[in-house]
């Protein structure tokens, strides 16, 4: 494995350089072949890694040391990769789905002038994401963490000629930055407590030395702050819906399948640390579930097809955090995986719809598209069923496992999670019915001067959809719960070396059946309601609480009022009183003062040579006097 492991991140980096440098000279087909090809080779290597990685209980991670980033007596930070079961799963998700989305982008971005730039950024993103999951210490993760943030910023603002998009990119970057501060501080604190940043050493020290619970609580809370930034949780979640300004493949890859799950990955990676911080876990669970509920309600009333999916992503991430708060790390990782499948599928499907509708994102103008786009329609339907959690599609297994952990941990959180699951199926089928059933509401789609009908997308776009649809169907079978089959939870066994298996389920099978049945019946009702309300129809004017949902709980407005406006006001005060009349005065004051002094001293230069000589003689005499008689 040592021979090829370094190729996995290196190849996308190479692709970035080739595509980045040749963005104006290489042909579009060559760029897409290079861009997708490097990721595909990385994917093949990841499969190799996945097959050879030590897994199961007691498995030790493999560490590959390349060179030292920092090497001082007091601190060593090596550039090294840590490969274990958790990493290998993320490698598969990143490179596998990444490859599909690259292929898709070749079709989706065909007409775009920034084609080469787009593929270069995508490759760079894959590189940083791989660094994030493969690093063997917090510093490496931080490099990846910042790198994916940068790529996210670049790709959200990809169409930078639109001011709103640039604003969205900046918003994402700044909000991520707030979280990154948490990561940095946590890293410093870890170094102070443990004296190292290497995962294996830090977690090894947890067993041998006593670390105060205050320090562990602080570190984990700071790490969770970082996770709220990257994974879009309260209070930093508002950037993700705005991030939909980027091209749709970006939304699918970065803002649904991979980057936003970095927070889950990080916490799972540090699960030994978080297990020692019960209060932090409590905080994570509540923040996750509340985020999940709020964003699910918002998603119910959005008309932009990508916004619905964005809020749905935040909501699903919230569920994952809630599961993590319950200690169900495997369930969270499981859901990361299945969610990556069906959310990437849904986003790509939405992209296909947008492409077919000639850049129309408003669902109130769609409808009846199943006639025009059969492949997209079927795959999207599979995605909706999967995310709604209907067996035997993948979403059911992972969601069921998460809800079960909540049921055992905290009944209130479980209740909210239950509601969120029902809402999820409602808004996803609302999206489905508004988009695909009924009649096309906007008969003529305007496309650059001429009118055209909606059309099915090209093969490069539909094939990834089909592959993802298949994955969404079968992806759940790696984690079949004990209820259905003994010892069939392959993922649990696979990850047991990284994540200490929790206690056995103390829950009777009859209760479990009951929970599943209750949930499924509620989901069925929700889907029925959605079909009644939105089959060929759209929302009426919102009133009451629906208006709150439609306006996203006024979170942006609240932030504007309580954070942004005061900061800008404070800035204006400083500008007026400190900058202009304080520092400005000081700076121009020194100039004015020296001008004034020299203006007066200048008159000493009379031009009278006799006077000069006299002064010189006096000076010399005085100097000699001091020298000989020691007057001073």
């Amino acid at each position: 494995m040592e021979k090829y492991i370094w190729l996995i991140p290196l190849l996308p980096l190479l692709g970035f350089f080739i595509n980045g440098l040749g963005r104006n000279t290489l042909s579009k087909s060559l760029i897409s072949v290079i861009g997708s090809g490097v990721v595909f080779i990385s994917f093949l290597l990841s499969v190799l890694v996945f097959m050879n990685v030590p897994s199961g209980e007691g498995a030790q991670p493999l560490i590959f040391h390349a060179f030292d980033i920092l090497n001082f007596k007091s601190i060593q930070v090596p550039f090294s990769f840590q490969i274990d079961a958790l990493t290998s799963i993320f490698l598969l998700i990143i490179t596998g789905i990444g490859f599909l989305i690259h292929v898709y982008s070749a079709g989706y971005m065909k007409e775009d002038e920034g084609f080469g730039k787009f593929f270069a950024y995508l490759n760079l993103f894959i590189f940083f994401m791989l660094i994030l999951v493969m690093g063997s210490n917090f510093f490496m993760m931080f490099i990846g963490w910042e790198g994916v943030g940068l790529c996210s910023f670049l790709l959200i603002g990809f169409w930078f000629k639109n001011r709103d998009y640039v604003g969205a990119a900046k918003k994402a970057f700044i909000m991520n930055r707030i979280g990154d501060v948490g990561f940095l501080l946590a890293m410093f604190w870890i170094y102070r407590e443990f004296g190292t940043l290497q995962y294996t050493e830090v977690f090894g020290l947890l067993n041998t030395t006593h670390i105060s619970s205050f320090a562990i609580g602080g570190i984990t809370l700071l790490l969770f702050l970082a996770a709220t930034g990257k994974s879009a949780q309260i209070p930093l979640f508002t950037w993700l819906p705005d991030a939909m300004a980027g091209p749709t493949p970006v939304s699918a890859l970065i803002h649904a399948a991979t980057m936003v799950t970095a927070g889950i990955f990080m916490i799972t990676r540090c699960n030994e640390l978080f297990e020692l911080a019960p209060y932090t876990k409590e905080v994570i669970a509540w923040i996750g579930i509340i985020t999940s509920l709020i964003t699910a309600t918002i998603a119910m009333r959005q008309n932009d097809i990508k916004k619905v999916l964005a809020y749905s992503t935040v909501s699903q991430l919230g569920l994952m955090f809630a599961a993590i708060g319950m200690g169900a790390y495997v369930a969270a990782v499981f859901h990361v995986m299945t969610h990556a499948f069906f959310k990437a599928l849904l986003f790509l499907g939405a992209g296909s719809v947008i492409h077919g509708m000639h850049h129309e994102q408003d669902m109130t103008k769609m409808g009846g598209l199943k006639k025009y786009m059969p492949t997209t329609h079927i795959t999207m339907l599979i995605g909706c069923i999967a995310i709604a959690g209907i067996p035997p599609l993948s979403g059911f297994f992972s969601k069921d496992e998460m809800l079960l952990s909540m049921f055992m941990g905290n009944k209130i959180i479980y209740a909210i999670g239950f509601i969120v699951s029902v809402l999820t199926s409602f808004y996803m089928f609302r999206l489905y019915f508004m988009t695909f059933s009924g009649e096309l509401r906007n008969k003529e789609v305007a496309a650059e001067g001429h009118t055209a009908h909606p059309h099915e997308s090209p093969k490069t776009m539909t094939i990834p959809l089909i592959v993802l649809a298949i994955l969404s169907i079968i992806g759940g079978f790696v984690g079949i719960p004990e209820l259905f089959m003994k010892n069939a939870h392959r993922l649990n066994q696979f990850l047991s070396g990284v994540i200490a298996p929790g206690e056995a389920h103390h829950i009777s099978h009859s209760t479990e059946w009951l929970l599943i049945a209750a949930l499924l019946s509620c989901v069925a009702v929700a889907i029925y309601l959605a079909s009644k309300m939105y089959n060929g129809k759209v929302d009426k004017e919102a009133t009451g609480v629906m208006k709150v949902f439609e306006n996203k709980w006024y979170v942006d407005e609240i932030y504007q009022a309580i954070i942004i406006s005061p900061i800008i006001g404070l800035g204006n005060i400083f500008k007026k009183y400190v900058e202009k009349s304080g520092i400005g005065r000081m700076v121009s004051g020194t100039g004015d003062l020296s001008y004034l002094i020299s203006k007066n001293i200048r008159t000493v230069q009379t031009g009278n040579i006799g006077m000069y000589v006299l002064l010189m003689v006096i000076g010399i005499v005085a100097g000699l006097g001091i020298f000989f008689f020691g007057m001073f």
Partner: protein, 108 residues
Amino acid sequence: MIPISYYLFLSLGLFSIGMIGVMTRRNIIIMLMCVELMLNSVNLLLVAFSKMHQAKNLGTEAGIDGQMLVLFIMVVAAAEVAIGLSIMILFYRKVYNVDVQSLNRLKH
């Protein structure tokens, strides 16, 4: 032998005359001459001390270097005067007189 104090007073007198000349006169030629006077008074002093030094250590070469230094100073002074005079000529061509007071144009 003439005591050293005679030389000292002569030299002091010459130097003072030169200094007062530089300070009080306006004619640039006279000022230059006064500067030369000051220089030569110092030269004289150097020779006198050198001679005194030699007289104390008869039969040795002590003190001879002071007299040699004076010769060098004269050479350098000659070169310096050449420059001084050429500046003076340029000055005269500029203002058509030899009064240093007319060299205060920068003041305005």
